[in-house]
Amino acid sequence: MRIRGFRARAGLLLLPVPLLLLCLGCEGRKKAAEAKPPLDVTKLLPQAPDDPQPKDGGIFIWGRSGDATLLDPADVTDGESVMVVTNLFDTLVAFRRGSTEIEPSLATDWSTSPDKLVWTFRLREGVTFHDKSPLDAAAVVFSFERQRDPTHSARRATSVFSYYQNNFKSLEKVEAVDEHTVRFTLKEPYAPFLAALALFNCSIVSPRAFQSEGKDADGRYAYNFAQRPVGSGPFVFESWEKDSRITLRANKDYWGGAPRIDKLIFKPIVDAQTRLKELEAGSIHGMDNPELRDLEIIQRNPDLRLLGSPGINVCYLAMHTGKKPFDDVRVRQAVAFAIDKRRIIAAAYNNIGKPAVSMCPETMVGFDRTLIDRTRDVGRAKRLLAEAGYADGFKTSLSYPASQRTYLPDPPTTAIQIQQDLKEVGIEVELRKRDWSALIKETQNGEHEMCLMGWMADIFDPDNFLYVLLDRENAVEGTANNLSFYKGDRVHELLKEAQASYDIHRRERLYKEAQEILFEEAPTVPLVTVPDFRVVRKDVRGYTIYPAGGEFFRHVSFAR
C-alpha cells in the first residue's frame, strides 16, 4: 500500500532539528572566547571567607564520591563515614580550625605526670548528648572501655575498632576520678598520644543511647548505634537513606555555639563529572574530589570557589623485600633510579602534585629536608642490576587498585608509566589490576611482588607514616601495613625510640636518621604527594579544609 499526499507536510517535522543544532553552536562559540592563564594550585586558599554577619538557616548539601559504611565513630575506617561522624561527635581535644594543632574541646585543660605516663583531663561542665543525658567522666570511660574490653556490652560481635588497636596499644586504663575528671594511664611513653586523642575514634558516645533498648541474648546492647548514632557534636543525626543521603540537623544547644545552617546533608554522587554539574546547577553547595583535569574549568567558573591545601599523603611503590629479587638492595635502588616521577605526575596527575622523596610527606613535621632525590639514571640502574646478577633483567608483577584514590587519581596510567620506565632497564612488569578490597587483602597477606599504594594521615605525626608503613612490627602477614615487609633493625630501633620520646627535636633527629636509611635501602619508592581540593559555591561562607582529614561544617553558612 502506498500513500501519497503527506510528504510535504512530513518534511516540516524536521525543521526544529537544525534550529536546535544552530543554538548549541552559538553557545559553544561564546564560551570558548574566554581564556585565562593556567592554574597555580599553590595559590589556592584552604578556606571560603567568613561572613562577619552570617545568614541563619538553610540546607547545606555536600556532594561526595561515596556513601558511608557505618556511623559508629570508634569503628569507622573509611573517609566517607569519617566526614559524617566528625560532625556528630566531640572528642576530648580537637584540631584547631583548619590546622593540625591540638586545642581543648570537651577537655578544658589537662596535666601529665613527670614520666608522661599518667594524663589527667578536666572535662567541660554542662555538656549534654543529643538525647539530653549528661556528658560526664563516666561517658568518657565508657567510650574508651568499649574499645578496649572485648567483652564490653557496647560492642558488636563485628566491631573491629582498628584505630584503637593501632593507636592505643600503650593505653593501660581509663578511670573517672570524679564527675568531671578523667585519668588515662599508659604502659609506656607514647609521643603521639594527645594527637591520637583528637582522632574520630576517640569520640565520646552516649551510654544512655546504647542502654535504651536493653540487651540481646548474648549480653550485648541491642541498640544499633552504627546506624543511629548519638553524640554531643554540633549536628544531630536525623536519617540515613542508603546510597542516597544522610541528613543531620543543627544542634541548637551545642556548647560551642549552634551552627548557622539548619540542616546538613551528605549526598553520594559517585561520578565526579555529575557531581560538578550538580554543583554548577546549584543543587549541591560543596563537593570533594574534583577531577584534576577539571580544576581549571572550576577556577574559571564565577559561581564556584576552588579551595586547596597541601595534602598530607604519599603515593608509593612497594617492593616485597622478602622475595627475590627485591631482597637485594641493589635491585631496589635500580628500580628507584629507573622511575621518572615527574613524567608520572605529568601523565597521571595532570601535572598537579609534588614528587615525594620520603615516605614521610613534606607537609609533615619530621620530614627530612636534607634528602635529595635520585634523578632518573637508566645507565646507573642497569649497572646496579648487573652487579646484583640481573644483567639481563628479570620478570616481576605490579598489583594496583582498579578504582581511583585521592593520592592515585589515575591508577592504570600510573602503573603503565612505571611499567615503561622499568622496561627501559630490562625489568618486565606484568600489571595486575585489583579491586580495592582484593588489593588490600593480597598486599596485607604479602602475596604481591610490587604494589602501588598510598597512605593518608590519620594522626598528625610522622609516626603515622614511618612506623605504620615501614616498621617490622607492622610487617606481619595477614595484617601488614608495611607492604614492603621491610624488617630493618636499625630503623625499628629509631622508630620505637622516637615513639617513646616527647622531645620534638630529639624525635626529628631520630626520624631524620630513619629516613636516610630508608632512602638508601629503598624498600619503597615514594612517588607523589597530592594536594587536597574542595569546591564550594561562591555564596558558601566559613567552610575550611581540615588538613588532618574529616570534614567539619560547624562554621559553614550562606552569604546574605
Binding site: M1, G11, A157, T158, D243, V270, G282, S283, I284, S437
Partner: protein
C-alpha cells in the same frame, strides 16, 4: 480465561526457580563482605556466621530465605552492617520503577510515532531521520549521551539539574507519603509542587534512558507496519474507500501491535535491571546502581541476591502483564487455548 489463569499460576514455580538460581549463584561467589569486615578476627567471624546461621546446609538457608521473602518480604540482612537490606532495596526499586516508567512512556510514544510515520512514508527524509535516530539510540553509549544532556541542560538552559528525587526543601510535603513513588503519589494527592519537582528531576535521566526503548520500538514498529501494510486486507480496506488514516490506525496498527507489545514488555524488564549506567551518570538513587555500588563492589551477598531477585521478579511480572495483554489485543490467543 483459562489461559490467563494458567499463565498466572506458572509464575510461582518460575519465581521459586529464579530465587534458587539467584541464591545459589550468590552463594557460589568466592569471598564476601564478611571476609573484609573480619579481616583480622577469625573468631569473631565464626561467631557471626553462627549467629547469622550461615553454616547451615544450603537447602536450609534457601528455605529460610524463600520463606522470609514470601511471608514478610524480608530479603535477609547485609553482611556489612547487619541491617535488613529489604527496605532499602524496595525504596530503590521504586525509584527505578518511576524512571523506567517515564523512560518507557516517552520511548514508546515517540518510537511508535516515528515508526508509524517511517512506515507510512518509506524512503522519505523523515524515514531516513527516523532510522538514523533509531540506530543512534541503540549505538550511542548512554553515559556519553547522559553527560552531554547534563552539560547542555546546565550550561545552555540553566536547568537546575539535581540527582535528588525531589527538591529537599519539600521534605515536609512528602513526609506522609505511603510509597516512595513520589511522582505518582504526588500526582494522586494533587500536590503539584512536589509533582513538578519530581518531574523536573526525572526529566534528564528519563530522556537519556528512553533512547533505548525508543530505538527498539521505532525499528520494530516500522518493520511490523510495513509488513502489515503490504497484506491484502489493507489494500482491500483502501479499495473499499476507507481513508488512509483509518486503515493505518485502526486496522494495520492493531495487527502490528503484537510484536511491539512483546518487545515493550521485554524492554521494560531489561531497563529495570539495566539502568545502571543511566543511574550512575545522573546519580539517580535506583536499584541497578545500588546493586553495583553496595552489593557487587563490597561483595555484600544479600544485597546482590535480593536486588537480582527483585529485578527478576519485576521482569516476570511485567512479562506476565504483557502476555495477559495479548488476550485483549489479539482474540486469536483467547480462542487457541
Amino acid at each position: 480465561m483459562t489461559y490467563a489463569l494458567r499463565r498466572i499460576l506458572v509464575t510461582f514455580p518460575l519465581l521459586l526457580a529464579v530465587s534458587l538460581i539467584v541464591f545459589a549463584l550468590a552463594d557460589a561467589l568466592p569471598g564476601d563482605a564478611a571476609d573484609w569486615r573480619f579481616a583480622k578476627q577469625p573468631e569473631a567471624k565464626a561467631a557471626w556466621r553462627k549467629a547469622r546461621g550461615l553454616d547451615d546446609p544450603f537447602v536450609v538457608r534457601w528455605g529460610r530465605y524463600v520463606k522470609g521473602f514470601a511471608t514478610r518480604l524480608d530479603l535477609d540482612r547485609s553482611y556489612q552492617d547487619d541491617e535488613p537490606v529489604g527496605p532499602e532495596l524496595f525504596r530503590k526499586l521504586q525509584a527505578t520503577f518511576e524512571l523506567t516508567l517515564c523512560a518507557m512512556t516517552l520511548g514508546v510514544l515517540v518510537g511508535l510515532a516515528v515508526g508509524i510515520l517511517s512506515a507510512v512514508f518509506p524512503r522519505s527524509p523523515l524515514d531516513y531521520l527516523g532510522q538514523v535516530l533509531a540506530l543512534g539510540g541503540i549505538s550511542v553509549p548512554i553515559f556519553w549521551l547522559g553527560m552531554v544532556l547534563i552539560v547542555v541542560a546546565v550550561k545552555v538552559f540553566d536547568f537546575p539539574f539535581s540527582s535528588n528525587r525531589y527538591d529537599l526543601a519539600l521534605e515536609a510535603r512528602v513526609k506522609d507519603f505511603a510509597t516512595h513513588l513520589y511522582l505518582l503519589e504526588s500526582l494522586a494527592r494533587l500536590r503539584l509542587d512536589v509533582f513538578a519537582s519530581c518531574a523536573r528531576n526525572l526529566l534528564l535521566p528519563a530522556i537519556a534512558l528512553s533512547t533505548i526503548p525508543m530505538a527498539v520500538v521505532t525499528r520494530m514498529t516500522r518493520a511490523a507496519m510495513l509488513e502489515e501494510m503490504g497484506k491484502d486486507y489493507a489494500t482491500t480496506a483502501r479499495a473499499k474507500g476507507l481513508r488512509a488514516r483509518q486503515v493505518i490506525l485502526r486496522h494495520v496498527l492493531r495487527n502490528a501491535l503484537i510484536p511491539i507489545v512483546t518487545i515493550t514488555g521485554l524492554q521494560f524488564g531489561q531497563l529495570m535491571g539495566g539502568a545502571v549506567l543511566t543511574e550512575t551518570v545522573f546519580s539517580w538513587p535506583g536499584l541497578g546502581r545500588y546493586i553495583v555500588a553496595k552489593g557487587v563492589a563490597a561483595r555484600d551477598t544479600p544485597v546482590i541476591a535480593g536486588g537480582i531477585l527483585l529485578v527478576a521478579t519485576t521482569f516476570i511480572v511485567v512479562n506476565l502483564l504483557v502476555d495477559l495483554l495479548y488476550v485483549v489485543i489479539d482474540p486469536r490467543v483467547r480462542e487457541q487455548r
